[in-house]
Amino acid sequence: MENVCDEQVYSQLFRTHSTTVFNFIFYKFGNEEKAHDAVQEAFVKLWENCAKVTPDKAKAFVYTVANNLYLNVIKAEKVRLKHRPDQAPVTRQSPEYLMEEQEFGERLQAALNRLPENQRTVFLLHRIDGKKYNEIAELEGVSVKAIEKRMHLALKSLRENIDGI
């Protein structure tokens, strides 16, 4: 049977889940250093417990460790996201259009920073990482329903913020 103590299995798990752990912590707190630390902490713990944790439980294990790591410890900072570089636009867009897009992007960014940490995390995991609600639920350790509610509230607040309500 596959064993997490096996270097191959461990590396595979790391490659599959580390980016999500990193992004998850980053979306929560906006702190890259803490996100890096969370990845290390979670996977070193996984290694230390490799005899006890089966490969199919490993994902939930690292998520739980990462999630517990900063419970109420650090204050959220601004989440600074990057914009995807333009993928060679087919039609040339007018400068006005581009400017407007950029301005909207900035307003979205500002609105994101005003969201409660749990709503922002759900929104960004879905939008950037393409995570499904059930996967996010597993990460956060809550029900899918709760995640859907957070997503709904996130969109509602973002819209209200951007439209200046």
Binding site: F14, Y27, Q40, H83, F104, R150, L155
Partner: protein
Amino acid sequence: MKPTFLARWINGELSPEELDAFRKTPEYATYERIARASEQLRAPEFDVEAALERSRDARHDSKGKVIRLRPSALNRWMGVAAAVVLLFGAAYFYISSRPALVQTGIAQQSEVVLPDASEILLNAGSQVTYREENWDSSRKVRLEGEAFFKVAKGKTFTVETGIGEVTVLGTQFNVLQRDKIFMVRCFEGLVRVQAGENTVELPAGTAFRMVNGQVEPAAPVTDTTPEWTRNESAFRSMPLGFVLEEFQRQFQVEVNTRGLDLSQRFTGSFSNTNLKMALESIRAPLQLSADVNGNQILLYAAEAP
């Protein structure tokens, strides 16, 4: 609007009728732009392979877990520097077939637990390297600096240093090797020391010491653990230069001397936790004067009154 409506919308789960109705609302335009703009967002770069490498190194350390026993506000930056050195050092050794490396900076101690549950307590400014593979058949540790070993029973356990080698089967002993000084103290069991042409068997309570290539008589061991594990540095007839170096390993200070013979021998001890008291423990018996200026300490012969 149901409390999950927007979540279903952005996930493409609405029925055509629901979607049609939603599109007619005045808010729809902004929602649509949020959905579009958020697709262009990216998280900060995360280099998976680099992180995996770091994780491998951290795992080696965690097998012999690095525990900072005595963190001090003074050594924050040294800690950072040591961590960086450790990282690069570990990365380097990883490339050349990966022995584990544990290192301590100034005023730090570390505890290393080896695969067979043998323990190494590292004094400040020291390092050990060892290979975890085939540990049970080949128990070998390379030491630079000073460490106290509690060896679990098993195959021969060897400590290699720049001057000599210590072999044991299962016991507790302290090895110190810095510059030209090599000292082994046996606290339990029996150890064999091999340095140059000398091979000595040390039963519990005895010690071996060599300074500048010369074997010197060593005082018997009466304690159960070395003094430094209790935050005290003790010396018996050790060169003053070595004592001052140890002082700088235990405290974040720079010691300079003026007109002092650093080869003169010193017998005494100092606290590793109280800088003022520690300085006094060296200064007073040697009848020196000390000028303290921030982290700089100047020691010089007291002038005659």
